[in-house]
Symmetry: C2
Subunit: 370 residues, 2 copies
DNA sequence: GCGCGGGGCTGTAACGTTACAGCTTGCGAG
DNA sequence: CTCGCAAGCTGTAACGTTACAGCCCCGCGC
């Protein structure tokens, strides 16, 4: 019923009668002279210059063995001379390969956000590859799964890097189910292996407690990451393990996390310090949060290094300038970026996920000038 | 002359003997049933579902007037139902439009880097557009022009955002010459109009000096940005203008800029404060740098708010926690990101560059709790 | 002298999209 | 009745790349 009319597909062409099947070839074979014109060189340009076919040029450029060695060299020489760069859209359309890695980011304001370092790290690694870095954002009101689904569904990248990983992360489940290459900043507790890089927050918290215990502190509090996140548990477990080891008592410091606003952390800390048995030592999971926390402590009229000691993780190196009495452990987020980038690419190239898992040991607990 | 070869288009297909040119019909006209199969829907899928031609569907989806109103609605309905999303590679290959904005970044470690905010701002704006954000890095040893040239030459983005703008910026000249849409964070002194967003560093420095003069400070120093950058001059001129207005003397504080390392700034500040006539007021162009500078001041045994007053610009809001005696002026980098994104897109859409220039007035000089 | 194999190269089609140049059909004017 | 025209739809080619299925020719075995 909705068939088109009966005429053949090519009757408007100037062509050839019946039995055309053998003909052609010859002159039609070479790309015409216009290829030589302005604009970016394409395979066609090189084909024209070398007198070869586009296919040959394509194969020669990727060192295919069925192209003669001399031809290969000749093509590569010409390609280099004219500054040939494969057209990404062409490759992508044909092969589905995007040569893009997507970094999925929560764009909420985060104090002391280490996102720049992460990006620098990733860029640093990608610079030696043909990959580009694309930033895919989501905001609090959106489902964190949404950007991931978008990238996977539209195939707009070959791999994804996510952070703020949860123990049972649905983004991870989704990507695993879809066989999509990804690496997470932080571990999960999902059975299936996947690529990750993580800072050893368990060890960090242990070392921090050990330090405070060594300083003679008895009542310790932990300013932890938000409880949904994986590293909340790592840090908390490390904290509790060491607390038990040293026989110390925890002063609860919940209702607030390293992700809360400066005002909130500050107010809550003040409150905490004014209660009957305030902590005399705090382990802080975030550099920015430590600023706010110290402010709260001082609001209460107490002094860091005297009334209380603090061991804090930091990614920017500003805490010692802030209060020299603070003890700090540095987290190298740039390194994390590099590792994550390396992992996704390796994964894309077929490496097994289990071999792409790394844990970054915390450096020593540093006092002032160290 | 460049007619296609003479043979029929379908000789390798399973069909049809000689004389095929008239026949064929039927099945050839409509996209075949396989279009219906799995995978992402394409125009072909919708064409098949609606019984229309691919062209019609394409036109209908962009509301072309030559498609009947009812057809248009029908196509759009189906497209929505099946979750059609144009294939970016297809569009890009055909039209050259990438729907990508490139943010060109120096990946040097910068203290207190505001890059995250910039990215958040850009993302925030791009979220309501079809554009993606791609980060194109360069490191110190590379020519800053290189990434720009790369993007322009390979057409890997429709527009570029750059920062660290210089008065006679060669990247800007290059993009102007090539008619490539771009927006700069910071102004230039190049004759040709171009899109920019800038913080009014002249006004900032003026207000800062005014504040310090009001506090009775007489010998002021300026911790400025690196001299090649445009905003070095703005800030410096604002500083000097106000100094003259209030009849104050400048204490030279060169050989160091807001971009130097913490150690360098700290050491240089100590040195400065130990000289015969140290400044009793400082204007600082960078939040991170102020941390280091204050450390240097305190190394010299002096106290901020007593021996010396400081007015500093900041993008993260940590300075008041650091030393409550500091006076601060906030710079909203996220806003800058939003503005810059808005500008490039407008430019791409044909708006005149002269209408896409904005200057962000500094907020008031804030004391402690304010 | 012929057939065969393979090295070295080739064209075609396809990925999904859009610009372009038609093709129908219906309708009103002549 | 024919023509012209416009509305509405159509197929083809092309963007640059790669998978695929050849093609040609040479040298070798028999």
């Amino acid at each position: 019923m909705d068939k088109p009319s009966d005429k053949g597909p090519s009757e408007t062409r100037p062509g050839k009668g019946p039995g055309a099947s053998g003909g052609g070839s010859g002159e039609g074979g070479r790309p015409d002279a216009r290829a030589e014109a302005a604009g970016r060189p394409t395979l066609k340009t090189i084909a024209f210059m070398t007198g070869l076919g586009v296919t040959t040029v394509s194969r020669a450029l990727k060192d295919a063995p069925e192209i003669g060695v001399e031809t290969r060299r000749r093509v590569q020489l010409v390609a280099r001379q004219v500054g040939y760069r494969p057209n990404r859209a062409g490759v992508r359309l044909r092969t589905g390969k995007t040569n893009v890695i997507s970094l999925v980011l929560n764009t909420e304001e985060q104090i002391g956000g280490f996102v720049s370092d992460m990006i620098y790290g990733i860029s640093e690694y990608l610079a030696q590859t043909p990959y580009h870095l694309i930033v895919t954002p989501y905001s609090r009101n959106n489902d964190p799964l949404e950007p991931v689904r978008y990238v996977v569904e539209t195939g707009s990248a070959d791999g994804i890097i996510i952070s703020r990983t949860e123990p049972d992360d649905k983004r991870v489940r989704y990507m695993l189910e879809h066989g999509f290459p990804f690496a997470t900043h932080g571990r999960t507790e999902i059975g299936t292996e996947h690529a990750y890089h993580d800072f050893d927050n368990h060890a960090f918290a242990q070392e921090a407690v050990k330090k405070l215990a060594g300083l003679g502190r008895k009542r310790l509090a932990l300013l932890a990451p938000p409880s949904p996140l994986s590293y909340h548990h790592h840090m908390r477990n490390g904290f509790l393990d060491a607390m038990e080891e040293f026989g110390l008592a925890e002063v609860p410091f919940n209702t607030v996390t390293v992700d809360h606003s400066i005002e909130r952390i500050r107010a809550r800390t003040l409150q905490l310090m004014q209660r009957p048995n305030p902590p005399d030592g705090i382990v802080s999971g975030g550099g920015g949060a430590t600023f706010a926390m110290v402010a709260g402590i001082e609001d209460a009229g107490l002094k860091v290094g005297t009334d209380i000691d603090i061991v804090s993780k930091q990614s920017a190196k500003l805490l010692h300038l802030f209060r020299p009495e603070l003890y700090v452990v540095n987290e190298d987020v740039r390194l994390a970026g590099r590792e994550l980038a390396r992992s996704v690419i390796a994964l894309i190239d077929g490496a097994p996920a289990a071999s792409l898992q790394s844990l970054s040991a915390p450096g020593p607990v540093l006092a002032r000038g160290e």
